[in-house]
């Protein structure tokens, strides 16, 4: 009895040590980033590190806000992220259901085809894809970004793996009860995989929010800029204002971080309901 108690104690200490060390190591660079965002370019790299700047240079933030037309970019990015995430989740879960719970002859081949396209680096796909979008008359529109990012195979893959974990007996039972396939999908599979859907949402949101390459290629009109594209345009390589770059980064991280914190509750609920029924 005593032995297990002390062993549990050691385990608990070890557990907290690992978790806290990792958390700390992940937090420090961001504290540095936050502190640098209030400094002038030359103070940023001064040694020893001054964690709290002597003078807070808020103009780094106001510059980004005004020059880059931040509100406009913010709205654009939110719009794109929302549409892409909804489409991605919707079409991915549907397709994943077919791959995971319906037996049809081409299933493995098609699934491998999905996987295979992920293995070709985007750098060689970019130009053919650009030609297709251009021929549809969609270059320099938000539609271009939505179409190329809303149907990625990655989402199907992720959800399918989670669907695979849901016992087939559950579905067979539902079929016997007379539920049709769409009913099984919407009333059984979706509620059971809330946490996976949240996981995919986080992945899609961050990918869309932070994507720079696609907006760079497809968007030329300043009114259509996303946050990442706008900020990168603001920070030229040869007159790099590091304080400003950091302020810009903080401003691009905060919205998505707030979003995550809101999601977190949903995430928690999703995980609990998944656990109870499973």
């Amino acid at each position: 009895m005593k032995k297990t108690k002390s062993r549990n104690m050691i385990f608990a200490i070890l557990k907290y040590a690992v978790v806290l060390t990792l958390t700390f190591s992940m937090l420090v660079p961001f504290v540095w980033m936050l502190s640098a965002s209030f400094k002038t370019n030359l103070e940023v790299f001064a040694f020893p590190i001054q964690w709290i700047p002597e003078v807070f240079h808020f103009e780094n933030y106001s510059n980004v806000w005004e020059i880059a037309n931040y509100p406009r970019m913010f709205l654009n990015t939110v719009k794109l992220t929302a549409i892409i995430t909804v489409l991605q989740v919707l079409t991915s879960t549907l397709a994943a259901y077919a791959f995971s719970k319906i037996k049809f002859p081409e299933r493995d081949v098609l699934f491998l085809l999905y996987l295979a396209t992920m293995m070709v680096p985007y750098q060689v796909v970019m130009i053919p894809q650009f030609s297709i979008i251009r021929n549809m008359g969609l270059s320099n529109t938000h539609m271009a970004l939505i179409l190329i990012q809303a149907f990625t195979p990655m989402g199907v893959f992720l959800i399918k793996q989670f669907f695979d974990g849901i016992p087939n007996e559950l579905i067979e039972a539902a079929r016997i009860d007379g539920l049709n396939e769409f009913g099984i999908y919407s009333r059984i599979m979706l509620p059971l995989s809330k946490s996976a859907i949240v996981s995919l949402s986080i992945l899609t949101i961050t990918a869309t929010w932070n994507d720079f390459l696609a907006p760079l290629i497809y968007i030329s009109d300043k009114d259509l800029f996303t946050i990442q594209l706008g900020l990168r345009n603001l920070c030229s390589e040869y007159t790099a204002e590091y304080g400003q770059i950091m302020a810009a980064s903080v401003m691009s991280v905060i919205p998505i971080f707030v979003l995550y914190c809101i999601f977190q509750r949903f995430f928690e609920e999703g995980m609990i309901s998944g656990a109870v029924k499973g």
């Binding site: 970019m126 650009f130 251009r134 021929n135 760079l216 345009n233 603001l234 007159t239 590091y242």
Partner: protein, 436 residues
Amino acid sequence: MKKKLLCLFMAAALALGLTACGGNGGNGGSDGDGGSSDANAGKDDQVTLRLALWDYEVDGPTTYEPIIKAFEDANPDIKIEVVSSPNADYETKLTTMLSGGDEVDLFFAKSNTALPGVQSKGFCMDLTPLFEENKYDLTPYGTVIEQQMTYDGDVYALPFRTNDWILFYNKKIFDDVKMEYPSNDMTWEQVGELAKEITAKTDDGIYGYSFSPKMGFIFPALAGTEDGFDITTSDLSCMTKALDWILDMQESGAMEEYAESVSMSKDQMYFMKGEWAMMWNGSWFVQNLNNQEDLGFEWGVAKSPYWEGTEKNGFVTSTPLCISASTKHPDEAYKFLTFMCGEEGAEILATTNLVPGYMNDEVLASYTSNLNLDESSIEALTNNVTYSFGEPNPVFSQIISAGQKEAELVLTGNETPEEFVKNFEAQRAELIENAE
């Protein structure tokens, strides 16, 4: 089942083909699909030219906007639409647009070293017939046209601006230690001695000599070690002289170590901060310095140093403007090209402290009168004898890039100058062989 799969693909491909054709039909002709709506809303005879360049957000107001505005005022039937991307991503954006079939009428090449690549793939229009037809005078551009813009006797671009590599110096640091300013006739060896002397006489944290920690900012000096150097054909062992010089500067502490500068992102800002007594940089930096409101010291420039035993000369680069080979409006594009890179554009550009590619007496007078510099500095910026990396060819930029990567290994202490020569020569041979 294989048949069925095939059918499905065929159907999808067909569907794509239809939408693609439909898209083409709908957008053909004047309705440039990339063009913004307000451009098309104008009169029917108005032409919109799309011009690709980089860092418009940063450099636009000072450098490009005034010229574009002057052009649009003079040619109300032509509208210029700028397509800009960040500096570091310009190649990605430009290549995608050119290869993906997007409408681009004019584009800047990143530098004269990048021009042979785009030119050899047929993206640039041959300008010679247009020049001949319009009897356009190319003499005000000097030797740059022939050195950097001509391929097989035909001209493919005009230089918008040129860039002399010169020595910037902080007068205050020199005054404080009671030393004479660098002169317009110095060898690199003399600059080295000067830098060491200053470093010894000043406080910690001040370096006698430095450059922005990117290989592009020092590599040209390596090509000046031999008269008539050609990076594709010359014996590369002459470059060790320059590498030894840099290593000596680092070891003696007259220059901050390259690796250290990189990790601290120590670029030309540190010249502005007053930590560098001398800096080798392009003449475009004059504009940056003059735009600083509160620098806290006076500065001057001297002609580029040269290596002992070579002719007295400096390095020059240029920024070429090309007409896209696939433009639908060659006449309008030609009009803009000869405006932007011609006399009118040069007159405006000269007032912004950048060196126009087009030079005549008035432009030069305007340029020098706007510099706000002492006489010796003005002399440093004019009448320069220049060299470049040699004859352009399709693997030109690849060879330069390979050389820069190898040289970086020397500066970071991973390789000796002798190993550099050996490895660079091997890579060069490989690149030339694989090009066939």
